[in-house]
């Protein structure tokens, strides 16, 4: 079955707005959680990641929150910009066990309108 599930496959936000992307996972062994950003016909690129020993990590306009008891993590983007328009993929993995074998969500297409 699908180990990582993303809700809201498509969403739109106005420039300057705040948005939240959500991801749920099933495997208790996951200890690494990441968000990748992908432009059309380009490579998925790591945006931000967090390990299970923390529940929040901030990098500029991007913050990832981890809720281990709820098996849920999210990406918050503040002050949205048109260049944020892309597909966002959540991913999780068991870094201590099987290493860098990541399980991905299907992706959420974000459109930031000017």
């Amino acid at each position: 079955g699908q180990q990582v599930k993303q809700s809201s496959p498509s969403l739109t936000v106005q420039e300057g707005g705040i948005l939240i992307l959500n991801c749920d996972y099933e495997n208790d062994m996951f200890d690494y959680f990441a968000w990748y950003k992908k432009y059309p016909d380009n490579s998925p690129t790591l945006l931000i990641s967090v390990r299970s020993n923390v529940d929040k990590r901030e990098d500029g306009r991007f913050t990832v929150f981890l809720n281990k008891s709820g098996k849920h993590f999210s990406l918050h983007i503040t002050a949205s910009q048109p260049e944020d328009t892309a597909v966002y993929l959540c991913a999780a993995g068991d870094q201590q066990g099987t290493g860098s074998k990541l399980s991905f969500g299907k992706g959420a297409k974000l459109t930031v309108s000017p």
Binding site: Q2, V4, Y32, Y36, D41, N42, S43, P44, T45, L46, S49, L89, Q95, Q96, T98, G99, S100, K101, L102, S103, F104, G105, K106, G107
Partner: protein
């Protein structure tokens, strides 16, 4: 940032023929991966490779699939023979380490394989 290059970006092939997908990983990386994404689905792990050997493979990595990195050049995925269900985008990735720090996966832009 570090770049992973995949050649070609699109390949069309007749069912039953052999195809080789090429990946030029980040130059100092030691671990290499292939992921498969069927249209409308999530990217799924196929295989990882280190020091000339397959370390781990998923159920999607059929007997018709093989990987190698001869002489430290391209990391390749070969499918022989191809089947219709092999049509997908194949993403290559590389990392410096496996797990822990410096484990970030860097992906290529993918090769879209169309099996007719």
């Amino acid at each position: 940032g570090p770049k992973v290059l995949q050649i070609p970006s699109h390949q069309i092939i007749d069912m039953g023929q052999m195809v080789t997908l090429n990946c030029d990983p980040v130059s100092n990386h030691l671990y290499f991966y292939w992921y498969k994404q069927i249209l409308g689905q999530q990217m799924e792990f196929l295989v990882n490779f280190y020091n000339g050997k397959v370390m781990e493979k998923s159920k999607l990595f059929k007997d018709q699939f093989s990987v190698e990195r001869p002489d430290g050049s391209y990391f390749t995925l070969k499918i022989q023979p191809t089947a219709l269900e092999d049509s997908a985008v194949y993403f290559c990735a590389s990392s410096l380490r496996l797990g822990g720090e410096q484990n970030t996966l860097y992906f290529g832009a993918g090769t879209r394989l169309s099996v007719l």
